[in-house]
């Protein structure tokens, strides 16, 4: 209690600094968004090649710094997780707050298969995707009737129930003690054991996720998603099967989160129910929204920033999460569309007016209208 004044002063300073940093960065994000938005197909492709190139040689450059390498692996894993939630939240507009459940299912399936049955990682990876996807289906079907806040609390409930099962079903999951000793994956008789190997493994998974995301976004199906998200009733009137699309979003998002979980299990060699709490779902949700709901580059950036930030803030240990909370609030106030706004990205400056307009709408508008 004695340090109240001290804490208040420090936090006020932090707020002011954060405010200006976000304001300044905001300009930078706008620039990037406009540049990417206005870019022609060819330049865009070239840019992607350059980024891919940098990502491919990155581990060789930073192999001297294992901490940075490890943080990079974790960051890319969160890119996969955030993109998988983006299917549900960004594309289909369903507020799912139990995403860590799918991540946990994937991790546990892999852990159990690899430890108990000595099954190869690759089969376990696919099994994890299938099982998680199945649970995504199970959750997706009954929740079709629910919208917005009710869906949010139901998905929270789903996540919590799953975590309690992991804790209480001691015979299978070993309960809170977790499953240690998960082996490293093997490829062509070669064991991936160092972080460089894991880096390429998760990068592969990230490329796969980005590929599916962007293919989907630009396909007929993807346009259907956007239509359902913006106005479900109008979309249905146009002949879009919104039920099918929503379930598909859940299944796809869950399956990819399951694969990320599978990777996590072999990466850390230890799974424990504490990894898959409600807070973990919230973290992934923040990544998606802070990055820019629905926009692929935005979500990627959001995941990277929100993974690196807590690590970078380690120096101020005790103030770390207080500042994290402040950042969330300020970001949402100053930059409601996220770092890279999808609408702005789509049309660049050309239809800025429309972009500004849409953000006044509510994402699950149908629920809140009376």
């Amino acid at each position: 209690m004695g340090n109240l004044a001290d804490v208040l002063i420090k936090l006020s300073i932090a707020t002011v600094i954060l405010y200006f940093v976000i304001k300044i960065l905001s300009k930078g994000f706008d620039k990037i968004t406009d540049i990417i938005g206005n870019m022609e197909g060819q330049t865009r492709r070239k840019l992607i090649y350059i980024i891919v190139g940098i990502l491919l040689i990155l581990p060789l450059l930073i192999s001297r710094y294992p901490y940075i390498l490890r943080t990079s692996v974790v960051a890319i894993m969160y890119v996969v997780l955030a993109l998988s939630l983006n299917f549900v939240l960004g594309f289909a507009g369903q507020l799912s707050m139990g995403h860590s459940a799918f991540y946990g299912i994937g991790a546990y399936v892999t852990a159990l298969l690899m430890v108990n049955f000595k099954i190869s990682f690759w089969i376990a990876l696919i099994a994890s995707a299938i099982v998680a996807g199945f649970f995504g289906f199970l959750l997706g079907v009954p929740t079709l009737r629910l919208k917005g806040d009710y869906l949010a609390i139901t998905t929270i409930g789903f996540g919590e129930i799953l975590r309690l099962i992991l804790v209480n079903w001691i015979k299978v999951t070993r309960g809170p003690a977790g499953i240690p000793g998960i082996p490293s994956p093997k490829i062509f008789g070669f064991t991936i054991s160092n972080n460089i190997g894991y880096y390429y493994l998760i990068l592969l998974l990230a490329f796969f996720t980005v590929f599916i995301s962007s293919r989907l976004l630009h396909s007929r199906l993807g346009q259907g998603f956007i239509a359902v998200r913006d106005d479900e009733i109008a979309a249905e009137a146009m002949g879009i099967n919104s039920t099918y699309l929503k379930i598909l979003a859940f299944v796809l998002g869950a399956a990819i989160a399951g694969m990320a979980g599978s990777f996590f299990a072999t990466f850390v060699h230890y799974v424990n129910p504490d990894n898959f709490t409600y807070m973990e779902s919230v973290t992934i949700l923040c990544m998606v929204v802070l990055g820019g709901l629905g926009s692929i580059p935005g979500v990627i950036l959001g995941a990277i920033v929100l993974t690196i930030l807590p690590e970078a803030l380690r120096g101020i240990a005790l103030y770390r999460y207080a500042i994290y909370g402040l950042l969330l609030i300020l970001m949402m106030i100053i930059r409601p569309g996220g770092m890279i706004d999808m609408d702005r990205l789509k049309g660049g400056k050309k239809n800025e007016d429309f972009g500004g307009n849409r953000s006044n709408k509510v994402i699950w508008r149908t629920n809140s209208s009376k």
Binding site: M1, N3, L4, V7, L11, L89, L95, P142, R145, L146, G148, D149, Y150, A152, I153, T154, I156, G157, F158, E160, I161, L164, I165, V167, N168, I233, Y278, V282, L285, C286, V289, L290, L293, L318, Y319, R320, Y321, A322, Y324, G325, L326, L327, L328, I329, M332, I333, P336, S359, N360, K361, V362, I363, W364, T366, N367, S368, S369, K370
Partner: protein, 290 residues
């Protein structure tokens, strides 16, 4: 054994109910799942604790100080964290609430320290038996305070001018504004009332368990949320019933099913109720506007 478990459940449920009422009020007006409500409840308990432990005030003034400070905090949060994003997509408001929750938890940890503080014993605990029911003096105090607070609240909402304005705003914010209602004022008063109720609940719970700690709002907030949804979000009677149902279900579930799945029972009831009545027990079905 069954009666005992039932009275355990009612005692627990009345605590949930009180938290849920504040939750449901804020929701009724601005349609915001206030994730920070649990943390305002925690801050309220800490304010009252500070008044007692540091300034040696008696219980009732401390209790009121906790409520007033929490009301101010609620208005402060509404002003600086929520109103700026009112016109943005709803998910932004949602994230602001989550950000506020994370911030408050860690703020309390910085100011009061991370450890559990013991809340001074202000009411000597005596046990009464009444029929098969067994209850303590503290439980009775909690129940009476809860009922009193909810009665005051109902009076404000139903009988006063500002209450009418609140009900108007909850029906249609835009129309209310057109009718000359100062909706900003309504929002702030709603937050003040909701937060002071939260603080009252927090202080009562802290007294009941003789403990205050920074993380106490987290699961309480979630439970209050579930109670409010079970009862039908926005309905004060619903929130009371929701809280009682939760408390009883948890106690009986922990006793007859498994204590490990205790928190799951609440969620399972929630999911079942929502599947059959998607707006909760007392919620009004809202027609979709096309």
């Amino acid at each position: 054994m069954f009666l005992e478990q039932l009275s355990n459940g009612i005692a627990l449920g009345s605590l949930y109910a009180l938290t849920a009422v504040g939750y449901t009020m804020v929701y009724g007006i601005i349609r915001l799942i206030n994730f920070a409500h649990g943390d305002i409840y925690m801050m309220g308990a800490f304010f009252a604790y500070t008044a007692i432990a540091y300034f040696n005030l008696p219980l009732v003034p401390s209790f009121l100080i906790g409520m007033v400070c929490a009301a101010l905090l609620g208005v402060f949060i509404a002003k600086f964290a929520y109103t700026p994003v009112f016109n943005a997509p709803k998910i932004n408001l949602f994230l602001c609430a989550i950000g506020t929750a994370i911030f408050l938890e860690n703020f309390a940890m910085l100011v009061w320290g991370p450890e559990t503080q013991s809340f001074p014993t202000m009411i000597k605990n005596e046990i009464y038996t009444f029929g098969g029911f067994k209850f303590t003096k503290l439980q009775a105090v909690i129940l009476i305070t809860s009922i009193l607070l909810v009665l005051i609240l109902s009076y404000i909402v139903k009988k006063t001018k500002i209450g009418r304005a609140m009900r108007c705003a909850s029906q249609d914010m835009v129309a209310a504004r057109l009718m000359g209602i100062n909706t900003n004022k309504v929002i702030f008063i709603t937050f003040a009332l909701g937060s002071s109720l939260g603080a009252a609940a927090g202080t009562l719970v802290a007294m009941y368990y003789k403990a205050v700690y920074p993380m106490m709002g987290f699961s309480a907030g979630l439970k209050a949320f579930v109670s409010a949804v079970i009862g039908g979000i926005g309905s004060i009677t619903g929130a009371m019933f929701g809280g009682l149902i939760m408390g009883i279900a948890e106690s009986l579930g922990a006793a007859y099913i498994s204590s490990g799945y205790r928190d799951a029972i609440a969620f399972i009831i929630l999911i079942i109720i929502l599947l059959f009545k998607p707006t909760g027990l007392f919620g009004k079905t809202v027609k979709e506007k096309v």
